[in-house]
Amino acid sequence: MTDVTQQGPLSPRGRRDMLSGAMLLPALALVSLFILAPAVYAIVGSFFEFTITSRNWVFVGFGNYVRAAGDPVFWTALRNNAFLIVGSAITQVGLGTILAAILDRGVRRGNAIYRTIIFMPVVVSSIAVAFVWILILDPNVGPLNAIVKSLGMRPPKLGWLGDPQISLWMLLVIAAWQNVGFQMILVLAGLQSIPKELYEAAALDGAKGLRAFRYITLPGIRNVLIVGTLITVVGGLKVFDLVFVTTGGGPANATQVLGTYSYLQAFRLGNMGYANAMSVVLLAIAVLFGWLQLRLSRKA
């Protein structure tokens, strides 16, 4: 008889499983409430046409997706996202790695100070960063113009953020300035987790300098680089506040991204369904990259 109760739902094992379930519950609840529910809402909404205030949802099937496919601004926005993703991966992860390597090896004194300075923009809100850069890039009073002029060159006539040829590049620079510190800290932690003895063994085995980097350092920070790249990719996908404050997607959609364009469609033009469809496209791309990252880091 006692045997049966031992095997029952309140056996030590069952009790432990229940406890772990109970511990996970708050997190699961929060995720469902703030991530899962809006996602489901967005997916469902993408098959309807409605405005934010209307109770009146009209089912349109894949109409919103078809509309996106035929909307040149959607494609411009998507292309701009892609540009920011690739550009950020190169500038932020690349530069972050180089800075981390310099701090790890080259800098003897003041390591903590440099680290703090480079990391500082990470903790500042994107809005504040955007305003700082609006000032820096201001065509009338901005220091960048002054510097360029003092070097005997001519700043762009339409302004750094006003010239459609330049503005997207400027956004890339601002994003890099804000986020490179984060990537640097990430890579630095990865570098410092590689035991010094590995480099010594490699030196004895004939791998120094670039070869030590290729065979010891790179494999050692591989996962960190994958995670860092994924974070950059997601950042490039969902970028909104920086663009919204600096250029608002202009001039003439030159810096339009899916984030700002969905906002425009949803809250200015009242096309909630269309905005939802674009968000779902964003979500799908993000999920794809997340899955890719999981696969890549499992292989290691």
């Binding site: 010594e200 070869r211 065979y215």
Partner: protein
């Protein structure tokens, strides 16, 4: 089989000199064990030989070739690290073949060298695993295998067994001995463990505070330690050290009153030692295994059992003999260590008579230099 020559090597860090002028030569095929307390500079010296540290002055030669300033990979040395230092993202085979790959050797040659080393170390079935799939002992074998594949002139080991458990450690000691016999290579092995030194070395280099105290074969150092440091460092349990004072000296014979003994002890000084003056403070040394069974001529000392360590067939007794106490040992509370090569039915608190054979005494002068060795009994 090349020789290794260390010539008055000095290694200073900013404000601290870790190696203060060390010289010795490892003859071809020798198994040299450098032993000494933690922090005495063993690793620093070994890393200097490997080229991982730049020495401040002196020279290092292998087979007469000056390698003092050569790159680590050009010295013809291979090193086995205490924490294995295996490349975590490479397989065992890749780890072992890495040096040959860096040297640009053809794949078939690398595979052959790896297979051969794996066979010697009996790790063939692990070649495709990664280091984190291996146990500590297997990892250390791979690390040794990595050294073997390179076929170096000199093998360097830095406390390679200290991360292993006791059983595995004694097994690996035997295997390293076998490996040395098989490869007939010149090896330098660093440890703080006197057992490893005694069991594996063809010659032991005893280091202390950046200097060499003595070089010699294990038994040579055990029987004829040059000073109190070497006498205390080699041998387990540690030699008993008893304070004494010279009360009379005539010719090469001195008479000593030892603290805790009522009877004066007469000893002959070695021919090449300086005779101490009357009144000098000296140290008497007594190995644990020399306590006798009460034969005539031996000094009987009443004592009480403090701790009994039964080792199976043998027994270690730590005895409280009142004022007769060993004075420099950290852990024994001044208890005398006595070794019996039999099982003993004693419990703490039991009375016990220690018999001391005066002929078994070592004698050290006030600076710790040896004045007298007991005759070696066989």
């Amino acid at each position: 089989m090349p020789s290794l020559q260390i010539d008055t090597v000095v290694k200073s860090y900013d404000s601290f000199t870790a190696i203060k002028g060390v010289s010795f030569t490892a003859e071809p095929g020798e198994f040299i064990v450098m032993v000494g307390p933690s922090g005495c500079g063993k690793s620093t010296l070994l890393r200097s030989i490997a080229g991982l540290e730049t020495i401040t002055s002196g020279a290092i030669r292998i087979d007469g070739r000056d390698i003092t300033h050569a790159e680590p990979s050009d010295r013809g040395v291979a090193m086995v690290f205490q924490n294995y230092a295996l490349y975590p993202h490479m397989t065992v085979a890749e780890n072992m073949g890495f040096a040959l790959k860096m040297a640009g050797r053809p794949k078939t040659e690398i595979a052959a060298a790896v297979a051969k080393a794996a066979k010697i170390l009996r790790i063939e079935e692990h070649l495709h695993k990664t280091p984190k799939q291996l146990s500590g002992g297997q990892k250390q074998r791979v690390a040794i295998g990595r050294a073997i594949t390179r076929a170096p002139d000199v093998f360097l080991f830095d406390e390679p067994l200290s991360n292993l458990d006791a059983a595995l450690r004694s097994q690996m000691r035997v295997e390293l001995g076998r490996l040395h016999a098989e490869l007939k290579a010149t090896m330098v092995y660093v440890t703080h463990d006197q057992t490893e030194a005694m069991t594996m070395a063809t010659r032991i280099v005893v280091m202390n505070a950046g200097l060499i105290e003595q070089v010699g074969s294990p038994l040579d150092l055990y029987n004829r330690p040059r000073n109190r440091f070497v006498a205390g460092f080699l041998g387990s349990p540690r030699m008993n050290f008893i304070k004494g004072r010279i009360v009379a000296a005539g010719g090469r014979t001195v008479t000593i009153m030892a603290e805790g003994l009522t009877m004066p002890i007469q000893l002959q000084i070695e021919p090449d030692a300086d005779v101490p003056a009357v009144g000098d403070v000296v140290t008497l040394g007594l190995r644990a295994e020399t306590f006798g069974t009460g034969a005539p001529g031996q000094i009987a000392v009443p004592a009480r059992v403090a701790v009994v360590e039964s080792l199976g067939r043998e027994t270690l007794i730590y005895a409280d003999a009142g004022n007769l106490r060993t004075f420099d040992s950290e852990s024994q509370d001044g208890y005398l260590a006595a070794h019996r090569s039999s099982q003993v039915m004693l419990r703490p608190g039991d009375p016990l008579t220690l018999s001391i054979d005066p002929a078994a005494f070592y004698l050290f002068d006030r600076n710790g230099e040896t004045l007298r060795f007991p005759p070696v009994s066989s």
